[in-house]
Symmetry: C2
Subunit: 122 residues, 2 copies
């Protein structure tokens, strides 16, 4: 398995990617074809579904970026990392922790997200 | 799904149960037959495997108890809760966070544990 910090960086770079075609390529490289994602407010599956979900979230939070918080960790086939969502230079409007399962080919086959601090107005 | 706090309490009560027969009954009530458990130092599956793992951990940490830390949360079929491990009255020697998947019958079908603070001498 790649280092948890590398997986977290790769994963969040997808959410931060503004170019739709590049983002799609990154999704195919980072997720298995049957990957699924679920958090308290979003759910998706497959490259198309994950792509559409991230595009919608990027529209909702235009100008925001995800950053890794703390030190990602992992064991066996799971990784855990925390993140913040902020307009660069501003305080985060949300922080969360995601747990991902890594397939044998190194790609993510599931991501389960939790919110640690919730945006007040989202 | 039961409330995340109820699930966390039920789950940790198994780890804290000193009577082997009672613990086995609680395991069958709380876990599906094919449930699995994995954390950085332990792994098990099925009622027998989970029972043996918890018994071994209880031997290693005799006199210690698990307590819920903070407020368990959850969404969809997942719950997350943090815990501490301490001799009652002493400072915790370890804290962690577990993510569990709840089956349609309300029992746990997987638990993935992470260590937040690691025992120095374990």
């Amino acid at each position: 398995m790649n280092k948890p910090s590398n997986i977290a960086d790769q994963y969040l770079s997808i959410w931060n990617e503004s170019d739709a075609a590049t983002r799609r390529t990154l999704i195919a490289a980072a997720f298995t074809a049957d990957a699924d994602y679920v958090d308290p407010v979003m759910k998706s599956a497959g490259h198309d579904g994950i792509d559409a979900m991230i595009a919608a979230a990027r529209s909702q939070f235009a100008g925001f970026r995800f950053n890794v918080l703390g030190t990602p960790d992992g064991h066996n086939d799971v990784v855990r990392f925390s993140w913040s969502l902020a307009v660069p230079g501003d305080s985060p409007i949300a922080c969360g922790t995601d747990v991902a399962v890594v397939a044998s080919d190194g790609r993510l086959r599931s991501v389960t997200g939790f919110l640690d601090t919730v945006p007040a107005s989202a």
